[in-house]
Symmetry: C2
Subunit: 297 residues, 2 copies
Amino acid sequence: MRVMVIGLGSMGMGVALSLVRAGHMVFGVDPRAEACTEILDAGATDAGPNGAAFAEDTEAVVVLTVNAEQVRSVLFGEEGIVRLLPTGIPVMVSSTVSTEDARDFGARLEQTGHLMLDAPVSGGPVKAREGAMTVMAAGPKAAFDTLAPVLAAVAERVFRISDRIGDGAAVKVIHQLLAGVHIAAGAEAMALAARAGIPLDTMYEVVTNAAGNSWMFENRMRHVVDGDYAPRSMVDIFVKDLGLVTETGRTLQFPLPLASTAYTMFASASTAGYGQWDDSAVIKVFPGITLPGDRME
Amino acid sequence: MRVMVIGLGSMGMGVALSLVRAGHMVFGVDPRAEACTEILDAGATDAGPNGAAFAEDTEAVVVLTVNAEQVRSVLFGEEGIVRLLPTGIPVMVSSTVSTEDARDFGARLEQTGHLMLDAPVSGGPVKAREGAMTVMAAGPKAAFDTLAPVLAAVAERVFRISDRIGDGAAVKVIHQLLAGVHIAAGAEAMALAARAGIPLDTMYEVVTNAAGNSWMFENRMRHVVDGDYAPRSMVDIFVKDLGLVTETGRTLQFPLPLASTAYTMFASASTAGYGQWDDSAVIKVFPGITLPGDRME
């Protein structure tokens, strides 16, 4: 298949590499020349800053930009690809966006005779490169069917949520509620341990062997124990994602006490200058403690 | 060894049964006659409502009462056992108590010439019955040494935190911060899913296969999906434990935004009449949603 991948960040690059490896013809799209060079070197058919150049030759599109504004721009903006995309082509939107934005994209694509798969992803950059992402997808059967070869190449697991565009986005946003709260809770627990004079490596070992553990605690609090804040995923990503969570709460008029609190913690960490640090650096919002040294290697 | 177990609730009964099974002579102490009958039937040497009756024959004590007030009463109250306990006997305090209370017990036991092990436990009733608890212990080497046969009988894993009484309590309290926040976060996520029209079993399956998972989410949100609130552990236990967490924050003058929020959620659920329900019933604080039926079997 001839697949256009828009957004060659850590997740999009992984998707593009997995598609090349699976034998597909890949058009990579990213404003950064070095990302285009990387995917060309890996065997992509073509790459460049503007997807319009490849749109007429494309059989499927995967969008993995950072946010909804970028999705809107690359699909429907002045240089957007949809106006040039042959009718019936499926567009898999895998950026993390709100339910409302996903529905908006779906309605616009329907108007122009294109299929949308509302298909956020999870798993992180390593899994993306292995073609082993988790995809939580919603959309019409035709979108699932035509995108089947793409999904097979990039995902270890595809959750078929429903046929209702927006449900994929909702599941991802709710998942991020948990992910963000768990990182912030891990930071709160480790900060309290530091304050109470409990060695952080001991605290880490107890929790990771007990019922208080979470995937995020185990993965991210290791960075705190090591004093290593080189960003695997950044504080600002959770400012964005927990922002989407609280926005969802407002839209549904629904109280989200923990997510709102965690959002405040990540926003505080970002404002204090830690936005580009590893997301475990949300622990820096806690005063009056001494933590293992701040390496940024 | 002749071991007195004070408090034959779900955890204490498990400890007593494990000690019997390991060949120790067990004195069971609980105000409830049916608990005494159960441990006698299982092979305990003696059992009754007052530990004073067995104190002079006891070589080690394990306390697993519900809270610190009960620990204080059974050890140092009018009918307390310490005044009758031979010098040098170790007392393993495994109730969840504050660091301050643990230190107070340690100081009093030191005055009377007894050893204390500050040894909270984790793992739940099933693991307790299997002799497979996790113990997070602090105290002098002599306490660890003399209690070694007891620890071997009841624990799968013993974390030796430090020799400083109070550190075991602190680690347990910090662990409960995570456990409580994770249950409340799981409830918040599932409530939002219900509000957004996402089937709860789908949401559960996605999360338990992704980075948003936690031990508590996987264990407790199953109950929400099944609509089954028969109490394995109750809402009121987390009102107590998160109360200890926030008390610890006050004592150390340390902000605990997530734990304080989660405490409010559990306290609200308790006040609304769900105190004796499974702790996953904290989800009942969320209005405007329909959940799977409320069974209490």
